[in-house]
Amino acid sequence: MRKMWLVGVLAVGLAVVAAGCAAPPQADIDAVKVSADKAATAGAAEYAADSLKAAQDAQAALEAELKVQADKFTLFRSYTKATELAGAAKTAAEKAEQDAVAGKEKAKNEATALIEEAKTALTAAQEMLAKAPKGKGTAADLEAMKADLAGAEISINDANTAMGAERYLEAKAKAEAAKNVAGTVSAAVLAAFDARKGR
């Protein structure tokens, strides 16, 4: 009788322990979701596609493991591996977020630098144009160059607008085009100075 009672207590105890061990690591799973959302918000799809893919693969592995364990009989479930996978998925998502921030910053810095170069080129061209030799037959050329610099200025403004909307490739393209036009005007004015010296 006493033995039967002891066996019964042991069986209940085992069941309780098994049920406790069979719970999925919900806090870790929630942490993975939060990290994945942060990576998406940081623009990982555009600026850290590879890292994002790795994070998505890690999350898929976690979900697969959770499904496998859920399909098992309660006493046979173990979420040790799932906990490890959740940790790995969270780390991968955090890396994707960091890479996205870094990638976006790099694109922004490149575009910013190019806009500054374009502004410098435009200012230089405007100053040169102001000092350009004026004389017989230069009015039409000067007018054409003024129009070119006006267009370059508009392009730089458009580049700044694109920066504000985080369209960094577009900003780079407009800044580079403006820089080229300003450079062409400066070269033309220099050539006019040289021609004048050569007379």
């Binding site: 893919k53 499904k67 496998v68 098992k72 017989k136 129009a147 392009s155 393209a173 085009a177």
Partner: protein, 395 residues
């Protein structure tokens, strides 16, 4: 009796144990065989899984997400599903898994990944080629407009259009270089359209050079100038703006031909001071400026504006075509310091210094100077007659 019962019970217990052992051995044997077959099966599925994973990885690295996203995402989804099916089957107690569904999903995933790569190459090559072609077309349109701008004086607003066309072309080249072929094509098409608008506006400017009535009038002026020279036995000067040519007639025959630079807006008929246009009409030399009397080496002053010019100026001002501060202008001359290979004057006709020396010696005050656009349809007429480029190149 008790001893006999005990022996019988002992023999029965032994047989039971033997039976249990035999049953356990049979189960173990069956389990072992199933496990062996299960392992072979799992190996085959693992090989399919590796192949599918590698295919999807290659597709992603080849930028299939840009060019064949549907196929890539479907391949990845099937890969995940296959992986889950495989794991569920392998986690079962019975060691012989059913991996048919997983195998099928792996195969389909691998096929889709291969298709994604194939589509990526095709679509990217097509987009790259389309972008290159659009850029080439835009570059041609811009170049044509640049040449026009150098030939025909463009108003500042039209010059700005041309600048925007050049900027859009540069942007297209940057996008193409960065691999964004779609945006490159859009930018190139915008450049082409802007450049074509400039060409179309320029065509409007030169419409007079294709106008039969205008050409007929110019032909009549030329004929009358030549006839006068023949009849009077005196020199007459003909200026042909499109040909950039000054012809001296003596007794109705060509005595000398000179190459001339014109006003920077030579295509137009002069209307007001500062418009850069070389006037069209029938004039006479009213003054001869020798060296020292002009900054242009030597000069022959014409009686511009004549009555017709004044009439036209008054009409334009009355119709609001001119600002209130506009003046009719004057001081139109044939002078030296020319030979620059471009049109730079404010409306005068500029010859080289040796040529103005020659002409100066052959003409006098009162010599008629007839200035026309062209006595026959030429390149400007062809430009004016061309269908609008914007319609030409839109397909």
């Amino acid at each position: 009796m008790n001893e006999l019962l005990s022996k019988r019970l002992h023999r029965r217990g032994g047989r039971v144990w033997i039976g249990v052992l035999l049953a356990a051995a049979a189960v173990a044997l069956i389990y072992g065989v199933a496990a062996w077959f299960g392992a072979r099966r799992a190996e085959a599925t693992a090989a399919l899984a590796d192949r599918a994973s590698a295919g999807v990885r290659d597709a992603r690295q080849s930028d299939a997400m840009t060019w064949a996203p549907d196929e890539l995402l479907q391949a990845e989804s099937l890969l995940r599903q296959a992986s889950l099916d495989q794991r569920l089957q392998l986690a079962r107690l019975w060691p012989l898994p059913n991996l048919v569904a997983a195998d099928a999903a792996y195969r389909t995933s691998a096929d889709l990944a291969a298709r994604a790569i194939h589509l990526t190459h095709d679509r990217r090559d097509t987009a790259r080629a389309a972008s290159s072609e659009a850029i080439d077309v835009a570059a041609e349109s811009v170049q044509r407009s640049v040449v026009l701008a150098e030939t025909i004086h463009l108003a500042i607003s039209r010059k700005l259009l041309l600048t925007r066309a050049k900027l859009a072309l540069d942007e297209a080249r940057v996008f193409h270089r960065e691999g964004d072929f779609g945006t490159a094509t859009l930018s190139a098409n915008r450049s082409r359209d802007l450049a074509n608008r400039v060409s179309d506006l320029a065509a409007e400017t030169v419409a007079r050079y294709a106008d039969e009535q205008v050409i007929a009038r110019w032909q009549r002026w030329k004929a009358e100038a030549v006839a006068w020279s023949r009849r009077e036995g005196r020199p007459a000067v003909l200026v042909e703006k499109e040909a950039h040519r000054v012809t001296l007639y003596a007794r109705g025959g060509v005595a000398k031909v000179y190459r001339a630079d014109m006003g920077f807006n030579w295509v137009a008929d002069k209307l007001h001071s500062g418009d850069g246009a070389t006037p069209e009409g029938r004039y006479r030399i009213v003054a001869r400026k020798a060296r020292g009397a002009t900054i242009y080496y030597k000069a022959l002053l014409l009686d511009y504006p004549n009555q017709e010019d004044r009439r036209e100026f008054t009409r334009a001002r009355r119709n609001g075509e001119l600002p209130p501060s506009a003046a009719i202008g004057g001081l139109i001359e044939i002078h030296g310091e020319g030979g620059r290979g471009r049109d730079w004057t404010r409306g005068c006709v500029a010859l080289t210094n040796p040529d103005i020396d020659d002409l100066f010696a052959r003409v006098e005050i009162g010599t008629p100077v007839t200035i026309i656009g062209s006595d026959e349809p030429g390149a400007l007429a062809a430009m004016a007659s061309r269908p609008p480029a914007a319609q030409d190149e839109r397909k």
